[in-house]
């Protein structure tokens, strides 16, 4: 055991003295976590990094009535001051050009007659409501900004829904009165004006009409607020964990080629102790890496990782599963260079399959099944569950899966790695 530990600790020391290796072990994941934090607005004053801001739009209001201006007012309202950055112009082509030039997310063109198409003057004097010609708002969207264009669209739709509801509400009110013969047709215009005045003054029955949405979780803890870094930090840590273990495998082969492994074999240490020591060294390096990344990201970004008992179990489990893969890759390649290239490829593939690059990558069907062989998928799910208030029980399936991955990969690698493989040919 002492010889095994001695080899393992030597390798751990070597790994952390290699400045080039430290770039990818620690610097790169931290840089990417910070980068993702920056682009998600996690470090801005709004804090949580949940979305978009300052969407540039161009508004052309050709409508003569109050609804066109009401929509313009919505975009300029204090509620949307952080979300939308509107400008207005009178020239439609200018607005369209800004979208084509990719300087604006959308052009909102409110045509003439819009208000009249919803609240026609003639309707107020008619005995029944005529259906006026529909005049639509045109929203020209920039296809390179699909998400923010969708936000603009949803704002307009919400506005139109309210307008529609108010219009229909008014229509129904007076149609019902007429149908129930509570009023005469000649009374409608005066009643409508009085009704309109009272509605504008805020007499609205909707205040008490509500639907409450209650957020539920699987455990007693309240749902954690959205924090994009809590999602991405474990993903990046696990991505570069795979780099560390495949590099460890490459170094095992490099030692074989350099003859130092063979030198160990002619010492009193058995090949099991030697190989065990080498693999334990990879494991300890991987564990140290992921612990350092977690500690640093906690201190720097105030991340919450959840139940410490779960963490204590999850961290070695992911390190073991990843080490098993690194060992397996080393067992079937021929040279350290191959181990490096194939290892890097596996690192990236596992990363994308396992969710290290975020949730907007569509991993479904066969790809989702394939992701189950990666430490990344199980690890990220476990970290997320713990961060969301879960405990050891919730992550038991993840721990089990990671242990199985470790055992299977170690087993296969041990069979492939025989004593003869350890000596330079």
């Amino acid at each position: 055991m002492q010889k095994l530990l001695s080899i393992a600790l030597k390798d751990l020391k070597v790994a952390f003295r290699d400045r080039a290796g430290l770039i990818l072990m620690l610097l790169a994941p931290m840089a990417l976590i910070i980068g993702m934090g920056v682009i998600s607005g996690r470090f801005s004053s709004s804090g949580s990094g949940a979305g978009i801001s300052d969407i540039p739009i161009v508004i052309v209001n050709q409508d003569e009535g109050q609804l066109g201006q009401a929509l313009v007012d919505v975009f300029y309202s204090p509620d949307l001051v952080d979300l939308i950055a509107p400008i207005t112009t009178t020239v439609v082509e200018t607005a369209r050009q800004q979208v084509s030039d990719n300087t604006a997310t959308a052009a909102v063109i409110i045509p003439a007659g819009f208000t009249a198409s919803i609240i026609p003057e003639t309707a107020l004097t008619a005995t029944s409501f005529q259906t006026p010609t529909v005049i639509s708002i045109e929203l020209q969207t920039n296809p390179t900004r699909a998400t923010s264009a969708e936000v603009v669209r949803s704002i307009i739709l919400e506005f139109l829904a309210r307008v529609e509801t108010n219009q229909v509400g008014g229509q129904v009110t007076f149609e019902q009165l007429l149908t129930q013969k509570l009023v005469r047709p000649a009374d409608i215009p005066a009643l409508a004006r009085d009704f309109g005045t009272r509605m504008d003054a805020g007499a609205n029955a909707s205040a008490s009409t509500t639907i409450t949405i209650e957020h539920m979780t699987n455990n007693d803890a309240p749902p954690a607020p959205f924090d994009v870094l809590a999602l991405l930090a474990p993903g990046m840590a696990l991505l570069f964990l795979m780099y560390t273990v495949t590099r460890g495998g490459a170094q095992l082969l490099a030692e074989r080629d350099a003859g130092t492994l063979g030198r160990m074999l002619i010492s009193p240490a058995s090949s099991a102790q030697i190989l065990g020591g080498k693999v334990a060294g990879i494991f300890l390096t991987a564990l140290a890496q992921v612990v350092i990344l977690i500690v640093v990201s906690t201190l720097l970004f105030n991340l919450h990782w959840g139940d410490w008992r779960g963490l204590i179990l999850l961290l070695p489990a992911v390190a073991a599963a990843a080490t098993g893969w690194g060992f397996l890759i080393a067992s079937f390649v021929k040279t350290p260079q191959q181990a490096g290239s194939i290892g890097a490829a596996v690192m990236l593939l596992f990363g994308i399959l396992g969710g290290s690059f975020g949730t907007n990558v569509p991993i479904t069907g066969f790809l989702d099944t394939l992701s189950k062989i990666t430490p990344n998928a199980w690890g990220i799910q476990g970290f997320t569950a713990l961060g969301n208030g879960g405990n050891v029980t919730q992550i038991m399936p993840n721990l089990l899966a990671l242990c199985i991955i470790a055992m299977v990969t170690f087993g296969m690698a041990s069979l492939l790695f025989r004593r003869g493989n350890l000596i330079k040919k």
């Binding site: 610097l27 084509s100 990719n102 923010s148 029955a205 909707s206």
Partner: protein, 399 residues
């Protein structure tokens, strides 16, 4: 020229000496493009990319059905009604971002009395779940607005003549609500969403994801030219070249030219793969595409040359290439679109060549931009190339 070509060819032979080099040159970029671009045929308009919402209707009321119908009309999400046990299992298996439970007692009376409740389970830190919640809020307010309109009708009627009994009032309310709901369902769309006229009708949004991957996977090996210089320095071949009649300029140009041509070939293969296998539309202006990507390749190889003057070993060079390449690709909008970035960040990242390349490529692919429209991007990329090249050459150590 012959010496420059000889140097470039020698580098190509070294770069592709091992079959595993094809992994990063072609295989991985193609796999990533395939996965992110949504498989064969890409994410076409007919494919459902909406967020999935599981719905458990425990109420079985007109209100719950109205809610389900309205949610079903949404373009942002697709709903899947199912029993509780199945929905819960699906949610726990992480197969849906959110689960909506409409509990028993969800009806208009509860809404009026303020006790109507919906229960929503969301996967943690999931952007689709956030979108679903936003849509649900909008839909819920649509329903309450209809009820409010019916209440207004009742209130107006009561002002003119009070109802004789609660039953009469209820009947009036029900009729008004039914009428309101009918009219709302028949309401015309008053929003016409259009795209700029130069957009191709068969545009495929997966091309955007492919563009980001192309930039990422080409950029990293271009930075990796720094490792080539470190290798030659360690190997002694750099010194040896300097004792031949080949000049230092020829050596630098040959190395850079080789990497540049390799990058062009790589981009050509990836674009070809995307076009033929994934049926992606790479825009209507091949000239704009070629000039833009060539400028980008020059900027990348020049940056790699400059990087090579700061590193001491191949290990450092390779590590820094991957680190800088990934970070610059991320910040340049290659992984997540720039529109998602905070406004100050959108400004700051303009210092990166990847940002200009990605924006230019997006303009060509999605806005149908022709060469004149992307000339600013090309000019900036060539400017980057010039600056990096000058610094790299000035600092270059041949020993």
């Amino acid at each position: 020229m012959r010496k420059i070509i000889a140097i470039a060819w020698k580098d190509a032979l070294i770069n592709f000496a091992s079959p595993s080099s094809l992994l990063f040159f072609f295989v991985l970029p193609v796999v990533f493009t395939f996965i992110i671009g949504g498989g064969f045929g890409g994410a076409t308009a007919s494919q459902d990319t909406r967020a999935k919402l599981l719905v458990v209707d425990q109420a079985g009321t007109a209100s719950s059905q109205q809610l389900i119908d309205l949610l079903g009309q949404s373009t942002a999400l697709s709903i899947e009604p199912m029993p509780w046990a199945e929905a819960n299992a699906t949610f726990d298996a992480d197969d849906a971002p959110a689960l909506l439970i409409i509990p028993a007692g969800f009806n208009s009376t509860a809404m009026i009395s303020g006790t109507a409740q919906l229960q929503l389970k969301q996967q943690p830190n999931n952007l689709d779940a956030v979108l679903i919640e936003r849509t649900l809020n909008t839909t819920a307010s649509q329903i309450t607005s209809a009820i409010a309109a019916a209440q207004t009708a009742v209130a107006e009627a009561e002002r003119i003549r009070p109802f004789t009994s609660p039953a009469e009032r209820q009947a009036y309310f029900d009729a008004a609500l039914k009428h309101t709901t009918q009219l709302l369902a028949q309401a015309p769309s008053r929003l016409n969403v259009t795209k700029p006229s130069q957009i191709a009708p068969d545009f495929n949004p997966a091309a955007q994801a492919s563009a980001g991957q192309l930039i990422t996977w080409v950029f990293i090996p271009l930075l990796g030219i720094s490792a080539m210089f470190a290798y030659e320095r360690r190997n002694g071949t750099l010194r040896r070249v300097l004792t031949t009649p080949a000049s230092r300029a020829q050596l630098l140009l040959g190395t850079i030219f080789g990497q540049f041509v390799t990058a062009l070939v790589q981009m050509g293969l990836l674009i070809g793969f995307g076009a033929v296998v994934m049926r992606l539309n790479w825009g209507q202006s091949p000239l704009a595409l070629i000039v833009l990507l060539s400028s980008f390749a020059l900027a990348g190889v020049s940056l790699g040359t400059m990087l090579g003057t700061f590193v001491r070993s191949e290990g450092q060079a390779n590590g820094l290439s991957i680190l800088l390449g990934q970070v610059m690709a991320l910040l340049g909008g290659c992984w997540y679109p720039l529109e998602l970035f905070p406004a100050p960040v959108r400004t700051v990242v303009q210092v990166l060549p990847t940002t200009w390349a990605m924006q230019g490529l997006s303009n060509v692919l999605q806005l149908g931009a022709e060469l004149p429209a992307v000339l600013p991007n090309i000019a900036v990329l060539l400017g980057f190339a010039a600056v990096f090249f000058v610094i790299g050459v000035a600092r270059f150590r041949f020993e």
